[in-house]
């Protein structure tokens, strides 16, 4: 089964953790994840500037590790990210902003990538809210 997974909440939201655990279980079950798409406040789940207290689980870090380890396609919506101050090196330079908080394995791209993922997957699963 091919899954497209879309996340709409920040790393501190329980739904971000839920999405990650679902994605892990999907791969463990022998399924494929064609793309992870981060939209709305989900762009914050991709931020590399999140500092989690040492005695708490670091979901942002776990996302990065998960995507790198499995060489998944992690796409962050560029319009949603710019609006919320999640910038990679190119965008920080383009808009002359002081901070870069989006790095590999993440890529910035448009909503076309969400539609493309929906077309190539058997199932779209969205996570967001609390």
């Amino acid at each position: 089964m091919k899954f497209a997974i879309a996340l709409y909440s920040a790393a501190h939201a329980p739904s971000s953790r839920r999405a990650l655990r679902f994605a892990e279980a999907a791969l463990a079950g022998g399924h494929e994840i064609v793309r992870l798409f981060f939209y709305q406040d989900g762009v914050h789940s991709a931020s590399s500037n999140i500092v989690t207290p040492q005695d708490e689980q670091d979901i942002a870090q776990q996302w990065t590790t998960f995507i790198s380890q499995h060489q998944l396609d992690g796409v962050v919506c560029i319009a949603a990210a710019l609006r919320r101050g999640v910038l990679n090196e190119d965008e920080a330079a383009r808009y002359q902003r002081p901070g870069v908080n989006l790095k590999a394995p993440w890529e910035l791209s448009g909503l076309g990538q969400l539609h493309d993922a929906i077309q190539s997957a058997d199932r779209l699963i969205c996570f967001g809210g609390p």
């Binding site: 709409y8 448009g110 076309g112 969400l114 539609h115 077309q119 779209l124």
Partner: protein, 120 residues
């Protein structure tokens, strides 16, 4: 085969970028000629109230974007009749033409008809 997508928009127009970001998914789908439908439900039906004044909050006119949907190839527009009634919004005078008000039963049938659905 191309998969169809239904967007269920539940956010009021002036409560942040939610309504516009739902619409952006629809517009992007329309730009790729994908079969896409838009259903207004709950507070999302407030997007259909006529003569709203975006300028009062120095915002962009969301209604104009909704009215342009047909130009982007998005013609399947629906509204939940229960949500309209609950909020005292008359289905006769909506700001966007050709929005079909649907009963709960019809909403269920519309959801059934689409391959995938995003409710936001």
């Amino acid at each position: 085969m191309t998969k169809s997508l239904l967007i269920i928009s539940r956010q009021a127009p002036w409560s942040g970028p939610g309504a516009k970001e739902a619409l952006d998914i629809v517009l992007a789908g329309g730009a790729f000629d994908l079969p896409i439908g838009l259903l207004f439900m709950d507070d999302g039906t407030f997007q259909l109230v006529p003569e709203q004044n975006a300028a009062a909050l120095q915002q962009k006119n969301l209604t104009a974007n909704l009215q342009a949907l047909a130009m982007f190839g998005v013609e399947d527009l629906y509204a939940c009749r229960h949500s309209l009634n609950e909020r005292g919004i008359s289905p006769a005078g909506l700001a966007v033409a050709d929005v079909q008000p649907l009963s709960a039963e019809e909403v269920r049938a519309v959801i059934d008809r689409y391959d995938q659905v995003i409710t936001l």
